[in-house]
Amino acid sequence: MSVRDRILARVHRTSAGRVHHPGVFRPPAMDGELWSRFVTSLDRVGGEWLGPLDPERLAPSVRELCQRRGAGRVVGLPDVQERLGEGPWRDVPAGATPHSLAGVNVTIAVGLLGVAESAAVAVRVSSRVEHAALVLCEHLVVLLERALIVPELHTASARVASLVQPSRALLWLSGPSKTADIEQTLVLGAHGARTLTVVGLDPPRDPTAQRAGA
């Protein structure tokens, strides 16, 4: 009998199989506007925010933010170029290694979902290179559509279930890297990004509504 089988047999002997699973947790409804709840939480975890911005103001605002973060290499993860167009941000070159991203100043990623109560933003990571880009950079910027903010993690779990796939990672980021390991003093930028800025996006204006308004 293998070690595995011995362990499983020992565990099997302890299983009565009588305790039922309690089911999915149903949280109470959350009051208030989700973006404002989200930015309040983000502020508390040491993060920063911009917006929500109109699509026209997005690229100039992110360009200005990158300038504020100082000179250096800016990397855009998948979908960033598509959202922002031309700018100082560059895609990760094909064939790049995770180590080649050491020294990146700003990484820009697209958030899949935000959680109002914890300011957590979900980012999908398809490779070690993307993963390293999110942690090796000095400053992290995440673009997040305002409509993608949900109240709490239970609602979020149902939405991200389809994104948990083999050979992929899903990262929840809540504020910048931090530590309080020295006399409980909070210090931002322990190993990962020193700042995390979430840029809120408003949906494109409905052209028919614009005409009606005119």
Partner: protein, 459 residues
């Protein structure tokens, strides 16, 4: 009975000032936890839910372990099983040695601490760098973590500055936490980049997807699992949870209970290796299945290692984590040690408790810690024949009011004589420093004269 905790405690926190500072530091975490929990109206429902998920999982653990293994294998991970700590160490070493790995970065893992993995690998020529800042501090100081969440909480900033000066060559006299953190970041970054393998613990393992969940605030585990092409994740069999939905329950409780944060800064769900990488998962028993078979104590396996019970425990706050002499300290350490440990000291740890129940009150998964401590006590130090006789006599006296009153009168009369020091006084040592409280007059048992007085009308 004198417990080993006393001896270690003096070494860990040597003077009143260090005890006071340690107490304040860890109770600050407790206060932060309270603040975060107060904002959660569904807190008790969430705790109940978490406890129910854990109870269900432990009751069906074999099924969920098999499901987790199947899904992890389907996702491309390799799963190894270790019956004992030494098997775990051997498996990890073989994985590293076969690939010629000599430099490893490790993120916080109490399991690997318990197994003594670092000295095992170092003795075989592998350089292991602990990358969590607190863990790095205790590694440089050549000591154990003293807390599950803040491993260097027993160290003053000046001591850390001196340590970094001595071991990392930073300027002498530095004690600013921000600058010390920056020095550590600069020292560790090249070590991350040079590492050939990343070793991590596991906070949760999701059976339905075969995913590993790692929670850190620093991002060190994410660097360790993305830079080197080899990732070895070590987990106890109790880390399994059934579903992704269940994960949300535990993530909402873990960081709140630990530090008062709504969630850790980095929470990574990893399902299999990424292209060009290897992921090895080492599943460890090391006494856990024995504890699982003990219906009275199996609930301790529900622990999610948040450290909340440490932060509130009056014994931990005043003794410090090193007093336990093992990786997991505090109330949960005292409950797990006699079940998982084999040494004599492990069995005596439950004696060092006030049984105040504060640990049970803050536990996010509602482990009945103080009841378990009490139960362990009765196993470790069952009452002697004399103690049993004394309790029996007391019960007889309390059943007879007239005898009770008579003995009370006798005790009051004999008190001055009993307190006095005289050779052979059997109560001498016990009575020294104790005072007989003033007897209420009239005694609650004596009838009062007349009917009870009505309360005074309020103005």
């Amino acid at each position: 009975m004198r417990v080993p905790l006393d001896r270690h405690a003096v070494r860990s926190l040597p003077d009143a000032a260090s005890v006071e500072r340690h107490d304040a530091a860890v109770f600050d975490l407790r206060a932060r936890r309270d603040g975060a929990m107060a904002e959660l109206p569904e807190l008790e429902a969430l705790r109940h839910h978490a406890a129910s998920i854990k109870a269900h999982t432990l009751d069906h653990l074999e099924r969920y372990l098999r499901l987790f293994e199947r899904r992890a294998l389907q996702a491309g991970a390799q799963v190894h099983w270790a019956a004992e700590a030494r098997d775990h160490n051997r498996i990890v070493h073989e994985l590293l040695a076969r690939r010629g790995v000599s430099r490893v970065v490790k993120s916080k893992s109490m399991l690997t601490e318990d197994c003594g993995l670092n000295p095992y690998l170092e003795a075989r020529g592998i350089d292991v760098v602990d990358s969590d800042l607190g863990e790095r501090i205790v590694q440089l100081a050549d000591e154990r973590p003293s807390h599950l969440v803040v491993p260097a909480v027993h160290r003053r900033r000046e001591e850390i500055g001196d340590l970094f000066h001595e071991r990392m060559g930073i300027p002498a006299g530095e004690s600013d936490p921000a600058r010390l953190t920056e020095y550590a970041r600069r020292d560790l970054r090249p070590r991350f980049l040079a590492a050939q393998a990343g070793l991590t613990g596991v906070n949760f393992a999701i059976a339905e997807t075969g995913s590993l969940v790692l929670c850190t605030n620093e991002g060190n585990a994410d660097l360790g699992m993305s830079l080197p092409p080899l990732h070895i994740a070590c987990m106890g069999i109790e880390k399994i949870i059934p579903t992704l939905d269940d994960l949300a329950v535990f993530l909402r409780l873990l960081a709140r209970s630990a530090t008062g944060q709504p969630i850790t800064a980095y929470t990574s769900l990893l399902t299999g290796p990424r292209p060009g990488a290897e992921l090895h998962i080492v599943v460890v028993d090391d006494g856990r299945s024995r504890l699982l078979a003990d219906s009275r104590h199996r609930g301790a396996l529900a622990c999610i290692r948040c450290g909340a019970c440490l932060n509130t425990c009056p014994v931990y706050r005043h003794a410090g984590g090193h007093a336990w002499g093992r990786a997991v300290s505090g109330p949960i350490g005292s409950v797990l040690a006699p079940a998982l440990g084999t040494d004599r000291e492990a069995r005596q740890l439950p004696l060092a408790s006030t049984l105040c129940g504060s640990c049970t009150a803050v536990c996010p998964v509602r482990i009945d810690l103080h009841d378990q401590l009490l139960h362990w006590r009765s196993e470790v130090a069952p009452p002697s024949g004399l103690e049993r006789l004394g309790l029996h006599l007391l019960a007889e006296v309390l059943r007879r009011p007239r005898l009770y009153r008579g003995l009370k009168t006798l005790a009051c009369a004999a008190w001055p004589l009993l307190r006095r020091r005289w050779p052979g006084n059997p109560l001498g040592a016990w009575l020294r420093g104790r005072e007989l409280p003033e007897w209420p007059r009239p005694s609650p048992q004596e009838p009062t004269s007349g009917p009870p007085r009505a309360p005074e009308p309020s103005p």
